[in-house]
Assembly symmetry: C2
Homo-oligomer: 262 residues x 2
């Protein structure tokens, strides 16, 4: 496919490189600022532009990789009928692109940052489009990057995005809080790394309900109370009590495996 | 070393097998109930007992692998002076074993369940003992299992255990909640697995603060409000608002990387 990338952030960077490596031709890279557009375009052997009105009209796909807020603004500045146009957002409806005849969504469910390369082959792509033909075109494109293609409607995709906030953003924030706790006693964060990895690996194999361990799951009041005593911040105490109550509530409805954190 | 294992649960199981494979001789396995003791003893070529008063007194180490609540009770029933005795708990002080001349702590910081084998070579062992000599003996023992040995006092170890509750128990609970959200819209949990793994892998390399992405980190009010609208449960809404506020608070004190969940 001949593809024009609209955006130059994390998603543009990772998808652009992935598509380029998969053998697609990247025609242009657009960004509000010319420098990041040029930087990415160079890697993708493409041309850079900071003006949507100068986009070449011959690409097979215009892939919008800008922030959620900017999607509408960008769409309004595309003044021709593209062969196919798709955005890459988890939380924006398909209908945001409904002014175009052929439109869709191409949402990679993964956390990307420039500091880390992520192989796309394992990334789930959530595909939606306004016609079965357009969906097929996006499915085929996703298939050149990944083995995991999901056809989800806008409502399902938004729910995935919400679940991803719990499983990624909130989880990562718990790592931040754990690190702060360790720092209080001069313990290196490294000590938690194997536990963090095993926690994530466990649910690749077991359902998360089966993988649950710890004092809240065992309803070990003594340890819970000692922990609350130990927490010096009201915020952390509130969070601890809240999540502990939620674990207890969920575990009551499940048979105990009797395992524990060690 | 010649080791007697006191307990037959997850930790007894994983440490027992690890020690046996590392070439140590397991003398006896104790459990309140004879059957689980026999089951584990068989795997470790050891003898089983359900009576602490019949323990052979010749082991080099008595390793207490029972639940936190039972440690004191077990210790009271050991009616001879063991060569060395240690418990394996994250939250119980060294002093719980102070009635013995030679005592210590041998705490593997990992989540264990019977359904999953965990290689001990990567597990951090937190070691404490009442004398430098006893600490050295436990360090050497840990070194036969793992490359990651940490000398931590009881207060530091308790803080590790607390941090581990955030990084493991609470994280796993977020996976449970994410799964429930997906189920509402008939989306398989599988779709989140690569994200979960990448989230954990990211902080092996980047500090968790640098790895943070998502609407709260970007202070993307529109997405945050849409998510809150989407959440049907008061509990989840409360948790969402709480963690979002906490992420915003922490991220304000850090330079933005501008990355986002996709």
């Amino acid at each position: 496919m001949v593809i024009t990338i609209i955006g130059s952030g994390n998603i543009a960077h990772h998808l652009g490189l992935g598509l380029f490596k998969a053998g697609h031709r990247i025609l242009q890279v657009y960004s509000r600022n010319l420098n990041p557009a040029k930087e990415l375009a160079k890697k993708l052997k493409a041309r850079a532009t900071d003006n949507l009105y100068t986009l070449q009209t011959t690409a097979d796909l215009y892939l919008i990789c800008v922030s959620d807020k900017a999607i509408e603004e960008v769409a309004l500045q595309i003044d021709f009928e593209p062969e196919l146009i798709a955005h890459t957002s988890g939380s924006i409806s398909l209908s945001a692109l409904s002014r175009f005849k052929n439109h869709g969504v191409f949402y990679p469910l993964q956390t990307f940052s420039k500091a880390r390369e992520v192989p796309l082959s394992n990334v789930p792509f959530c595909i939606e489009a306004n016609t079965p033909e357009n969906k097929t075109r996006l499915n085929i494109l996703a298939g050149t990057l990944s083995e995991k293609i999901y056809g989800l409607d806008s409502e399902q995709r938004k729910q995935c995005h919400l679940a991803a906030v719990f499983a990624n953003n909130f989880v990562n924030h718990l790592y931040v809080l754990a690190q702060q706790l360790l720092e209080e006693k001069n313990i290196p964060f490294d000590i938690l790394k194997p536990l963090i990895l095993e926690t994530a690996q466990k649910v690749q194999q077991l359902a998360p309900g089966e993988a649950q361990t710890g004092p809240a799951f065992r309803n070990d009041i003594q340890v819970i109370e000692a922990h609350i005593e130990q927490l010096k911040s009201d915020k952390l105490e509130k969070l601890y009590r809240f999540v502990t109550a939620s674990i207890t509530e969920v575990s009551k409805s499940k048979p105990s495996e009797g395992s524990r954190i060690k």
